[in-house]
């Protein structure tokens, strides 16, 4: 196994073009496990630790440009107001040591359906900026996941940034695991209210071959909120609508039975998380509305 250590982004792209099978490594929290368990033996390992822009982030007016290697700890500490859903998801990643090393870029590169960042990215709205010596492109995150542990990157591409929409309303993230910390998701759910556009978005993890949005549920909820005048009134949805939303989220799942849980349980749990996160986000939306009006 050869170890590549590009100093700059350009060097990294050149190295990746030269060695398309090279596996990029940043925090190593996923790649090293794969290597240690002998699940993969890459010909080349490319350490991106010295490429400065991957560790930086920039808060713009509408989006946050997140460097692929920015560790979860930084997202929790520095970006919670802009990216509340992702910050909550980051909290559930591994242990403090893992959160100090692991990054969203790694989650996307591995593209495991159980990656904790995915549901939050889907719900917030995000684009993955991939680049190669051929040029750069931005891939909507919902198009990024192409199969179990497969993504839309070409062999010569690297993830540089993730452009994530800044929260314009409350966001939530919930994850079910059989342990109260340091656990891989049995399934996960994220919900973002987007009052500016009067829409909602969802993200489901670990309940289908890829992370996905529950589009029918989003559409249902968007219409229900609009038609009921809820965005303006702040009134909570009728329980029947919340139930329907939860059912549609559960129906969006395509889970399997595995060592972590059964398919039936995953579907059930996604429904419960959808109902609860809807309650929590709507409660804080009302709170914000109220305080805005008072001010």
């Amino acid at each position: 196994m050869e170890f590549l250590r590009p100093r700059t982004w350009q060097e990294a792209l050149a190295a990746k073009a030269e060695h398309p099978s090279a596996v990029p490594i940043a925090g190593g929290t996923d790649v090293m496990v794969e290597i240690n368990f002998d699940h993969c033996r890459p010909t080349h390992l490319m350490d991106l630790g010295r490429v400065p822009e991957l560790h930086e982030w920039e808060v713009g007016s509408a989006t946050v440009r997140l460097g692929a290697s920015v560790p979860y700890t930084k997202i929790i500490e520095r970006l919670a107001p802009e990216l509340p859903g992702l910050a909550l998801a980051s909290h559930t990643v591994g242990s403090p040591q893992i959160r100090n090393r692991g990054s969203v870029g790694g989650n996307l590169g591995a593209a495991s359906p159980a990656g904790d960042a995915h549901p939050a990215l889907l719900a917030a709205g995000a684009e993955v900026e991939a680049e190669s010596v051929r040029g750069a492109r931005r891939i909507p995150v919902e198009d990024f996941y192409t199969g179990v542990k497969r993504n839309a990157l070409a062999d010569d591409e690297l993830i540089k940034y993730i452009h994530i929409a800044r929260a314009d309303g409350p966001q939530q993230f919930s994850k079910v695991g059989t342990r109260n910390a340091m656990v891989i998701a049995v399934c996960a759910f994220s919900l973002a209210l987007h009052p500016a556009r009067r829409t909602v978005r969802t993200g489901i993890g670990s309940a289908a071959p890829t992370p996905l949005r529950a589009r029918a549920a989003e559409d249902f909820l968007t219409v229900a909120l609009e038609e009921g005048g809820h965005w303006d009134s702040g009134r909570p949805l009728p329980p029947s609508a919340a139930r329907r939303f939860a059912e549609l989220c559960a129906a969006a799942c395509d889970p399997i039975d595995d060592v972590r849980g059964s398919a039936a349980y995953r579907r059930r749990a996604v429904g419960v998380m959808a109902r609860r996160t809807l309650g929590w986000t709507w409660e804080s939306y009302r709170g914000e509305e109220r305080s805005t009006r008072c001010a």
Partner: protein
């Protein structure tokens, strides 16, 4: 902490109950100086600082110049015929020094085993479980060894897999071990049964007719792993005399050696063993792992060979806790008196016997729990299957039974409309009670009292997630909720449940086993100070045995400075660090040998100074604070003066009182030397919609006879409690129907984190057992028993579900 050294003295643990209690300073005539950090003090561990700072050398840190690395090739199948093995390509790889298979085993004996020698050192013609060792490689780099092992071509032909009771005991079942000649072969009803032990007492049928209420249940316990942190590892160094020196993490050096030497074709004295740093054991190191393999490679290559399993291999490298199916019937009169118990306990022993026969004996003899039941009909057995071999794990057969009988007691209480604790107390055994085996419990058995104590504790406040939260009204601290940081609830769906359980565990090796230990103690003057050396072969696996040995020497010889010699086979056997027995038995040996040393010191003192002071011959003399003193406190001489230039040294064996085997058809017999008891109250919050559990508190009360080191005792109780919690809600090795292990990693074999570990208030009772040194009672295992059923009882209380299986999974709780 209840009780101190005075308790022991007052309850008469004999002359040995003199205890230095660490109260230093009193020098007036008549007051005794004592020796600090003796028995009863929370003396600090000699290895504590090194372990906390990460500097302690574990067996995986061993290193030798020119050493090679060994690697094991394991079977990918649970049951298969080995058609051919081709090592050519592996052997040809640069850096590879040797490749060994069954054909290379040097001696007549090819098999080993704790009780039954049924385990091949390397597979011969057939593999019986997923992960069975087939071939070995030694190379100059671990990665080279691993790659070479992957190049060994083994052709397998898969065989039908024996995976449960039905297909193990079918008439045409494939036999795991045909032509058995072991001690149990003659009495088992089927050759796929390792051992079967009935316990029959009274007349269960007649008693059942007196019952007003009868409850039955079938319970299941999953396969728990010891999950010790230090993986199997060791270093074998070939010696010039043709023997081998083995540095190894194990629980019992001499038992290892007895199994290793014949397979190497060496006399035992040519296999010299030294204990390397052990990172936990919990029973998982009672069987051999890489011991024979490393020695074979070292002897073949003439070079030191190190082997270290990684976590993945470790899951295949040691036995696990027996999964069990337990069918129980309990009867009671309307006033809550147990009439009878019938039960059948089927343990899955996997492919090789390991400790299965003894686990069966425990499960059978302890199957009724700490209750008085005169009429019982009990049967316990262990199967041979193609599942992973199972053997010793903390609680050893008593854990499985306790989960079932405690669920039954709750069911019975519910049927009787009676408080579950009251029902237990009404049937609780006490000193003088008769076990189902006919054995009279002849030391304190405070079963009702420990239940009373956990019940009397105030309950933790409700809705702690609100109290714990910062940020004012409406804020929640998710860490106090089911799901924890995963943020699944703010209180929605959360229901509290409270549950109780109590258990009984035997201490020491049972059923007639000659359970002894050996100690060597030397006392000498060095640099104007008396110093002692204590040398045993007892394996320090993290439990604090080394601390206890120092404390005993301090108390018995009145010497502050005590060095613990590394454990090795240059001294006689200490027996196993298991069965909650080391403080009892090796502690007993150290104390006994200290007595021999003391007598010789006093003899020497009398010879040298007897003429100067009449007390030398007339008074009872003690060694305290580095001096010879009268029982009245008068100092006669310093130890340094008495010892002069010549050390005093003694070696001796010590054994607990004998036990006897259980009768093969009735299970009657004085089978256990001592019993220990713990009770738990579990308080849980259950998210009944998601099936997630937060254990809020697990209070424990346990009688330890005498807390030789109170801090260590509490540590043992908290650790055992947590391990029981793990079995209750998460820990399980999953094996598919083809016998393959599905989750051999800490990614999917989950053990509790600190966020899963509740507050564990511990109430330690010290009711001396007059048969035991210092009155102590083995403490390490009992808390592992009752913790699991207490948690399940609490979850049942919260959910109303039957939950007859552990570990309970979210889908069981929400029932999808």
């Amino acid at each position: 902490m209840a009780g101190t050294a005075d308790t022991t003295a007052a309850t008469g643990a004999g002359a040995g109950a003199r205890t230095g209690t660490g109260t230093a300073g009193a020098t007036a005539v008549g007051a005794r100086t004592g020796t600090p950090d003796g028995v009863g003090a929370s003396a600090r561990r000699p290895d504590g600082t090194l372990k906390v700072t990460g500097e302690f050398a574990y067996s995986s840190d061993l290193w030798h110049e020119d050493m090679l690395w060994g690697c094991t090739l394991r079977s990918p199948y649970a049951h298969a015929e080995i058609v051919s093995v081709d090592i050519g390509e592996a052997l040809a790889q640069a850096g590879v020094h040797t490749v060994l298979t069954y054909d290379d085993l040097p001696a007549e004996r090819k098999n080993y085993g704790l009780e039954i020698k049924d385990t091949p050192a390397l597979a011969h013609g057939r593999v019986r479980y997923h992960g069975e060792p087939v071939a070995l490689v030694a190379a100059d780099h671990p990665e080279t060894a691993r790659r070479a092992a992957a190049k060994i071509r083994v052709e397998y032909r898969e065989l039908p897999v024996v995976h449960d009771e039905d297909n193990a005991l079918a008439e045409d079942a494939p036999l795991l071990h045909a032509g058995r000649e072991d001690d149990h072969a003659a009495h088992v009803p089927h050759p796929n049964i390792v051992h079967r032990q009935p316990v029959v007492r009274g007349d269960a049928d007649a008693a059942a007719r007196r019952a007003d209420v009868v409850v039955t249940g079938t319970y299941q316990v999953g396969m728990q792993d010891q999950a010790f942190l230090g993986p199997e590892s060791g270093l074998a160094v070939p010696a010039e005399d043709g023997g081998v020196d083995l540095y190894i993490a194990t629980q019992w050096l001499h038992s290892d050696r007895k199994q290793i030497a014949p397979v190497l074709g060496l006399p035992e004295e040519k296999v010299r063993m030294t204990l390397a740093g052990v990172g936990g054991a919990f029973g998982g190191r009672e069987d051999l792992s890489m011991q024979i393999h490393a020695c074979l490679l070292a002897l073949r290559t003439g070079k030191p060979v190190k082997m270290v399993y990684n976590r993945f291999e470790s899951f295949f490298g040691h036995v696990h806790r027996h999964p069990a199916t337990l069918r129980y019937e309990h009867g009671a009169t309307r006033d809550g008196r147990l009439t009878h118990v019938r039960c059948r306990i089927v343990l899955d022993g996997g492919a090789y016997a390991s400790a299965s026969p003894a686990v069966v004996g425990n499960a059978a003899s302890l199957s009724v729990g700490p209750y008085v039941v005169d009429d019982v009909d009990i049967e316990a057995l262990a199967l041979y299957t193609n599942n992973p071999p199972c053997g010793a794990m903390r609680g050893f057969g008593a854990v499985q039974a306790c989960f079932a009988y405690e669920a039954q007691l709750d069911k019975l209480a519910d049927r009787l409309g009676m408080d579950p604790v009251e029902l237990r107390q009404r049937n609780a055994m006490a000193q003088g009670a008769v076990m189902p085996t006919g054995q009279v419990v002849d030391s304190p058995a405070p079963v009702a009292e420990i239940l009373r104590r956990v019940k009397a504790l105030p309950l933790p406040p409700e809705r702690q997630w609100e109290a714990a939260a910062e940020g004012g009204r409406g804020a929640v601290d998710v860490r106090a909720l089911p799901g924890g940081l995963s943020n699944t609830t703010r209180g929605e769906g959360v229901v509290r449940g409270v549950g109780y359980a109590v258990g009984i565990k035997n201490v020491g090796f049972s059923e007639g086993f000659d359970d002894y230990s050996t100690a060597r103690v030397r006392l000498e003057a060095a640099g104007g100070e008396p110093v002692a050396l204590v040398h045993t072969a007892a394996a320090e696996v993290g439990q604090g045995g080394v601390t206890v040995h120092q404390q005993i020497v301090r108390t018995e010889l009145g010497v502050g400075h005590v060095t613990v010699h590394p454990a090795d086979t240059r001294v006689g056997s200490a027996g196993s660090t298991s069965a909650s027995r080391q403080t009892y038995v090796t502690g007993g040996a150290v104390r006994h040998v200290c007595g021999l040393v003391r007598e010789e010191v006093l003899e020497r003192g009398r010879a040298r100074f007897g003429a100067h002071h009449p007390a030398w011959t007339s008074a009872e003399l003690l060694l305290e604070g580095g001096k010879v003193v009268t029982s009245g406190g008068e100092v006669l001489a310093s130890l340094v003066e008495v010892l002069g230039d010549e050390p005093v040294e003694a070696v001796g064996e010590w054994r607990h009182r004998p036990t006897e085997p259980f009768d093969l058809t009735t299970g009657q017999g004085f089978g256990h030397v001592q019993y220990s008891f713990a009770a738990h109250r579990a308080v849980v919050e259950v998210d009944i919609e998601l099936g997630l559990v937060k254990v809020v508190e697990l209070a424990c009360a346990q009688d330890v006879g005498k807390a030789v080191n109170p801090d260590a005792v509490v540590g043992q109780i908290q650790g055992g409690t947590t391990q029981g919690l793990g079995l209750a809600v998460m820990e399980e090795i999953l094996v598919d129907p083809s016998g393959r292990v599905r989750n051999p990693s800490f990614t999917d074999y989950l053990i509790p984190t600190i966020l899963d570990t509740p507050t564990i208030p511990v109430d330690v009772l010290e009711l001396a057992d007059e048969h035991a040194p210092y009155g102590l009672r083995g403490a390490g295992e009992a808390p592992t028993l009752s913790s699991t059923p207490a948690v399940l009882a609490a979850i049942r209380a919260a959910t109303g579900r039957e939950l007859p299986r552990v570990p309970v999974r979210p889908e069981h709780i929400v029932d999808v």
